[in-house]
């Protein structure tokens, strides 16, 4: 189950992902991100429970980021697990995404 929950918190949409996000699971993540975009809110993607993510999973996040920016919203990553951070760094995407240490920090951060 790649997408654990989609909730609204302090005016943001929080999408929590978990488990192994590979070519099989990535389409579900892509769908969930694009669907939550319709609320026109900023998106926070919680990666704390992600144990594996590959280029397919990263591609979903990139597509989400691009779609969000197109509609003047932000997509930031929250509680990035060690494994996800390693893969983001390999892709040098750690500077492209806004990354928050945890959810309270992300919610407290000024809207982008």
């Amino acid at each position: 189950m790649a997408v654990t929950s989609i909730t609204e918190q302090s005016g943001r949409t929080v999408v929590a992902l978990s488990g192994e996000i590979d070519m099989e699971e990535a389409p579900k993540v892509r769908r969930a991100l694009l669907d939550s975009m319709k609320q026109k809110r900023d998106i926070l993607v919680d990666l704390s429970q992600v144990t594996y993510i590959d280029s397919s999973g990263i591609a979903s996040l990139i597509e989400g980021l691009q779609t969000a920016r197109k509609q003047k919203n932000d997509l930031a990553l929250v509680s990035v697990s060690q494994r996800a951070r390693r893969v983001l760094e390999l892709a040098r995407l750690d500077k492209v995404f806004t990354i928050h240490a945890d959810l309270p920090t992300a919610l407290a951060a000024a809207k982008g």
């Binding site: 192994e20 590979d22 070519m23 099989e24 594996y52 590959d54 280029s55 397919s56 990263i58 591609a59 979903s60 990139i62 597509e63 980021l65 691009q66 494994r83 390693r86 893969v87 390999l90 892709a91 040098r92 995407l93 492209v96």
Partner: protein, 573 residues
């Protein structure tokens, strides 16, 4: 119409022949298995046949202290009425086991007039016959007031006596059938309990294992148990126990103790602490007077180190080669007696020695007045010297039986032979040395080109990478690279169409090599290039990841039409 003896029972008409009555009654009991219904039917026949105003059948209860009315016919229903055995005319018939003829009820001292007063019935004359099988009286049948006020004839007495005897026999048979059914049910329950117990013992002993046990219950269910299982680090947890008492209660306590040990033994690594926890649990649930003696411990076959705790059990026997055997006594009480008993962990370095545990069913094996004892067991253990451990244990039991020793209790043996473990450790080391191939083939997998298979491949790869000595991060990188390579094949080589992928994993002296092959038309490696990293868009990342985390990634040329073969190498830091 055939003769009266073969006439079927007619519930509406009286049967004139007592023999026919008896036959019909037996048939009826056999068919319905409902004693009360058949007793009622029999009484109805008796009342009609003897032309009386009322009748009742009384049967003795289980304690034989009261006579209970089980059927009644007449203007007043007295079913359920209880009369103390020996009182009333009915009681007299039962106690004296003789037929009672009372012509004037109110002139008989024993007559119980209270019933008449309560019911408004007026009893004039009584005929009451005991119902007995052999010398065993089970009750009596009583009839009241011959119709038209006539007295009872001698013929009536004979008829009632015969019918009472027939009814007694039929009831007695029906009760026996009931008991057999109940026994059968109990037997099935006992078999079920035995079956559950067998599942609590280690499934099958491995001949080459350095630890083995056996149990020979004297009844179907046993109060003995033993268990051993390997923990993730190779240490073996073991236990042997004996529950006081026999039968179902003992076996239930045994099952409880054995399953507690199975659960706790996996996490509690200190034998004394394990015993304390078991003791408290058993104290809480055990019924008065029952207890468990037990030895439990941990044995490490890699080092020969053994730690154990003893709760009031027969001392384990330590048998070192060419030395006198030592008994290792226990001071701690059995489990289930006092909740806060203290237990201590003993430590032994086996160093090739044998550690033998048994229940008192073994040491109390008897030959005349002589008991086998620990010394006897110590000698018998060597009966099948040199054979695998399980065969040596079986030989002990066979030798006892062959020599005519008598078992008085369940017999359970559990033994550790550290010499055998030392051999297997050596064998393992030898096997590891015998790996001359620098690119040792670990495993191969073949699977359909389907994203759903990725999650099935990863665990096998993870195990391989760990076996090659990679740390967690490096292992995760190997998984990532392999996953990306397989996804590339699914998307680029097969274009999301059906196809086959083969994966081979080799161990190298300094790392790991993966070979991933497809059977699609040749791919031009030049066309699969990593993307420019400042170009933020989906796709193209996989190849970049492979090159970033692996030390070497190259396509091995294959003849045209043979597909593509990608070789990935990762070396240890």
């Amino acid at each position: 119409m055939s003769g009266p003896t073969s006439q079927p029972i007619d519930p509406n008409g009286p049967l004139t022949d007592p023999l026919e009555f008896a036959a019909a009654l037996s048939r009826s009991f056999a068919e319905t298995q409902d004693i009360d219904a058949t007793v009622r039917e029999a009484l109805g026949q008796i009342v009609k046949l003897l032309r009386v105003e009322a009748g009742a059948i009384f049967l003795l209860d289980e304690l034989r202290t009261s006579l209970i009315c089980r059927a009644s016919v007449g203007p007043v229903d007295v079913t359920g009425l209880s009369v103390p055995n020996g009182s009333g005319v009915v009681g007299r018939a039962v106690v004296e086991d003789s037929i009672q003829v009372v012509e004037q009820a109110y002139q008989d001292q024993a007559f119980f007039a209270e019933a008449d007063r309560k019911t408004g019935f007026v009893t004039r004359s009584i005929l009451c016959a005991p119902m007995s099988v052999g010398h065993n009286v089970i009750g009596a049948v009583e009839v009241l007031n011959k119709q038209n006020g006539k007295p009872f004839h001698a013929e009536d007495q004979n008829l009632l006596r015969v019918m009472a005897a027939s009814a007694a026999l039929a009831i007695s048979n029906a009760r026996m059938a009931d008991r057999l059914v109940a026994q059968e049910r109990l037997q099935r329950e006992v078999e079920l309990a035995a079956e559950i117990q067998r599942h609590l013992l280690p499934a099958e002993e491995d001949e080459s294992s350095p630890i083995c046990g056996l149990v020979r219950p004297i009844q179907e269910v046993s109060g003995d148990f033993y268990d051993h299982f390997e923990l993730p680090d190779g240490t073996i947890a073991f236990a042997i126990g004996d529950v006081s008492g026999k039968g179902l209660n003992a076996s239930l306590l045994m099952s409880q103790t054995a399953s507690l040990f199975r659960c706790l033994g996996k996490t509690v690594r200190d034998p004394a602490r394990l015993m304390s926890i078991l003791n408290r649990e058993i104290c809480e649930t055990v019924s008065r007077g029952m207890f468990v003696t037990m030895v439990s411990g941990l044995y490490d076959p890699a080092t020969g180190r053994l730690r154990f705790a003893n709760a009031g059990h027969i001392p384990p026997l330590l048998r070192r080669p060419n030395q006198r055997s030592i008994e290792m006594p226990a001071d701690s009480p059995p489990l289930g007696i006092v909740p806060y008993s203290k237990y201590e962990t003993e430590e032994v370095d086996l160093n090739g020695a044998q550690f033998v545990l048994c229940t008192d069913g073994v040491t109390e094996y008897r030959f005349g007045d002589e008991e086998l004892g620990t010394e006897g067991l110590d000698m018998l253990i060597d009966t099948a010297r040199g054979k695998p451990l399980l065969q040596r244990l079986n030989a002990v039991v066979e030798e006892l039986q062959r020599a005519g020793w008598r078992a008085r209790d369940d017999l359970t043996l559990l033994a550790i032979d550290d010499a055998m473990a030392a051999r297997t450790v050596e064998q393992r080391a030898e096997a590891e040395r015998a790996e001359p191939d620098p690119s040792d083939f670990l495993f191969g997998l073949s699977f359909p080109a389907d994203p759903k298979r990725l999650r099935l491949v990863r665990p096998a790869l993870r195990a391989a990478a760990e076996a090659c000595g990679f740390d967690e991060n490096e292992t995760d990188d190997v998984l990532l690279a392999a996953g990306e390579a397989i996804e590339n094949i699914i998307v680029h080589a097969y274009g999301n169409r059906r196809g086959e992928i083969a994966l081979a994993v080799h161990r190298m002296p300094d790392g790991l090599m993966l070979r991933i092959r497809d059977f699609a038309p040749n791919v031009d490696p030049a066309k699969i290039q990593p993307r420019k990293l400042d170009d933020v868009r989906p796709g193209g990342l996989g190849t970049h990841f492979i090159r970033a985390v692996m030390d070497d990634a190259s396509f091995i040329p294959l003849p045209d039409g043979e597909g593509n073969l990608l070789e990935l190498v990762k070396r240890k830091r």
